[in-house]
Symmetry: C2
Subunit: 409 residues, 2 copies
């Protein structure tokens, strides 16, 4: 007998029929003797409907009031799922984020969880209840309703699992696990039985949209056993996210190929190669609330160097505007930039102990005539920036080059 | 400078455009220097949509979960109205029933307000904010979301006005006040500038659907100055509900003609005329949660009497079933009943000091050949039960007989 936290996304609860199916799945886990806490998102489309309604009133809705509004989406789902559970004979109680006291900071529309009061949930579980909690939302110290930002229901699930010391947090979604790459691009892509937390983090931040990155960080921090499963398959083991390399398992060197077409690259040319120059360039970018992903600076020549970084395409123009005075100020030679790029990454904890991953990657791309514009590496990934139009080709040839289509895992 | 509580119903906030109009009206009151607290209902149609969704899951939705669900309707409106107020330059903050702590008992779907914590609202008002509160909802002592039942937003408005000791509670609706009778039946019906609390109570319970009866009781109990106004007219004084007869005002004897086609009548024939018989009949009816409206028992003959009462038509069959064993048990002669009836009432505090109201009423109906099946009187009203088909005719001739179409008020 275990304590399981299950999270169901908007598609999984997108209609009364699907909500009834979720109830049946929960009932199967209860029948096996497990305690179950369920976290749900708003029914698919509902959050967008509410935001559109808000925008009919205010082009840029007041963040506090927007949170009051969109948090109703999950509130409807918790009630419906509880009804569905009660209807098939289970005991169930729903709670909003505020009711189980998911305390957050006061950063409306992108709040962070500070603490969770699990007492009430424990009492309900002890009484044999299924506890149904609204994902994505909380309250701040003043009792204002907050939301965690898009995808925040995953974070709620993991945070509840951490607070309750649950045996497993199961994230049900419309895919049955984490794949070696996007099967729409590479039909031979395989589902991974396990993936390490670090790999998942790289896969998520690099554009595999299975789990919200913050929830993975949270799971890592609190050592929550996390599993991604499909809510449309009756039985399946999905992909387990682990926190240590399993020494016993014959693990492939590379776990997957991630890619991302959301970024733009900016290079400040011919900046003085002196201490503090990185801060002079990225300080104003950070002040403008623009997140930077890759940062590349090579050795300089004649006291000058080129400084490159990538930002989200939505921030591209804003970043260029911010940099104009910086260029003047630092006496840089100018700016070179472009938003028709893709970032492709080879990810795997195995590469720590295997040389040659980067060279295999570069050779493979070179054989297809794909030019590499930027390179960035970490212990468990190698990322390159290439022309956007080569994305699919690059992903396919790399998937094959690392034998991801056949590796037994 | 006054403190005004304004309540807007579902039709008044039924679209983004209408919500913007409400914001403009609130702004006009603010511009005159008043503090304003606004209570809103769910957008028209929303509560029904949510209930239908719940019924897709459970034919008889769990009451606790139904409250969690339907309370989202008002939550959406408070956010939208606050946005609309902020958009036109006002400071505004929305609160759910739970957030301003409208504490209720735990009778889900028909809870009663126990207390309101007005501290937070006072602080906001002091800071120049318009406070926007969700009607119809509260929380119980355990933090569960409750609702007050249909029309409960009126009650919320009055309860907030009482808690804040507001100068006036304004109920905005789709009619511009209380009329001498339904203008759809009598085009000459006039809007009343004032109506006493007792009259309003009779008018409301007798079928004038302007205000929820519980809110009127609440207003009477806490001496809240209550005004009914149209949200579709820019300036209008509506109808003020007063708590004393205004001696200075030349007041008509009769204020209005109310009517109701929602009831059914039941007569238990030939029951023994002895102490306790009323309880023997109505006890089981009350135990079955059936509300009784009129009760009539005349003097008996030969130790037997007839006992009549009316119930809501929805409870008609249930009441008849409940009575079957009662008839056997009391050795009554049988039951006579019908649901094709109407109750028509002449209401006015003036009749306390004027004889002849009842006889005028009976004569007027007799002249039209309308048979009176039951009669019930109070200090300020005379009600008769007649055949349903004569409803409009009876209302028209009574309106004319009491000169309601021309009385200067």
């Amino acid at each position: 007998m275990a304590l399981i936290v299950q999270k169901y996304g908007g598609t999984s609860v997108g209609s009364p029929e699907r909500i009834k199916n979720v109830a049946k799945r929960v009932a199967r886990w209860k029948a096996r003797g497990h305690d179950v806490v369920v976290v749900v998102s708003a029914m698919s489309g509902e959050t967008n409907r509410l935001i559109a309604l808000a925008k009919d009133i205010q082009a840029h809705p007041d963040p506090r009031e927007l949170d009051v509004m969109v948090s109703t989406g999950e509130q409807v789902t918790i009630a419906l799922l509880s009804m569905a559970l009660i209807e098939i004979g289970l005991k169930a109680r729903s709670y909003t984020g505020g009711q189980v006291k998911i305390l957050t900071d006061n950063a409306h529309t992108k709040a962070r969880i500070v603490s969770i009061d699990e007492e009430r949930m424990r009492a309900d579980l002890k009484a044999g209840c299924v506890v149904v909690v609204a994902g994505f939302q909380g309250i701040d110290a003043d009792g204002n309703i907050t939301t965690l930002g898009r995808g925040g229901s995953d974070t709620t699930g993991v945070a509840l699992a951490a607070a309750l010391k649950a045996d497993e947090c199961q994230i049900y979604t419309d895919v049955d696990g984490v794949y070696t790459t996007d099967p729409r691009i590479v039909p031979e892509a395989r589902r991974l039985k396990t993936i390490t937390f670090e790999e998942m983090l790289e896969m998520a931040s690099l554009g595999s949209k299975v789990l919200q990155i913050r929830s993975v960080e949270f799971a890592g921090k609190y050592k929550v056993r996390l599993r991604v499963l499909s809510s449309f398959e009756d039985e399946g083991e999905g992909t387990l996210i682990t926190f240590e390399e399993d020494k016993d398992m014959e693990k492939a060197v590379i776990s997957g190929i991630a890619f991302n077409r959301d970024e733009a690259k900016i290079t400040v040319l011919g900046v003085p190669d002196r201490p503090g120059i990185a801060y002079q360039i990225l300080g104003p970018i950070g002040d403008a609330n623009i997140d930077v992903d890759m940062i590349v600076q090579n050795v300089g020549h004649d006291g000058l160097t080129d400084f490159s970084f990538t930002v989200h395409r939505n921030d591209y123009q804003k970043a260029l505007n911010v940099l104009k005075p910086v260029v003047t100020h630092t006496k840089a030679r100018g700016i070179q930039s472009g938003d028709k790029i893709a970032k492709v990454s080879v990810v795997g904890v195995g590469m720590r102990s295997h040389a040659g991953i980067a060279s295999t990657m570069f050779r493979t791309l070179a054989e297809e005539g794909i030019n590499i514009e930027m390179i960035s590496t970490s212990e468990i990934k190698v990322s390159v920036v290439i022309d956007e139009k080569y994305t699919e080709l690059a992903v396919r040839v790399l998937h094959k080059a690392f034998a991801l289509d056949q590796a037994a895992q």
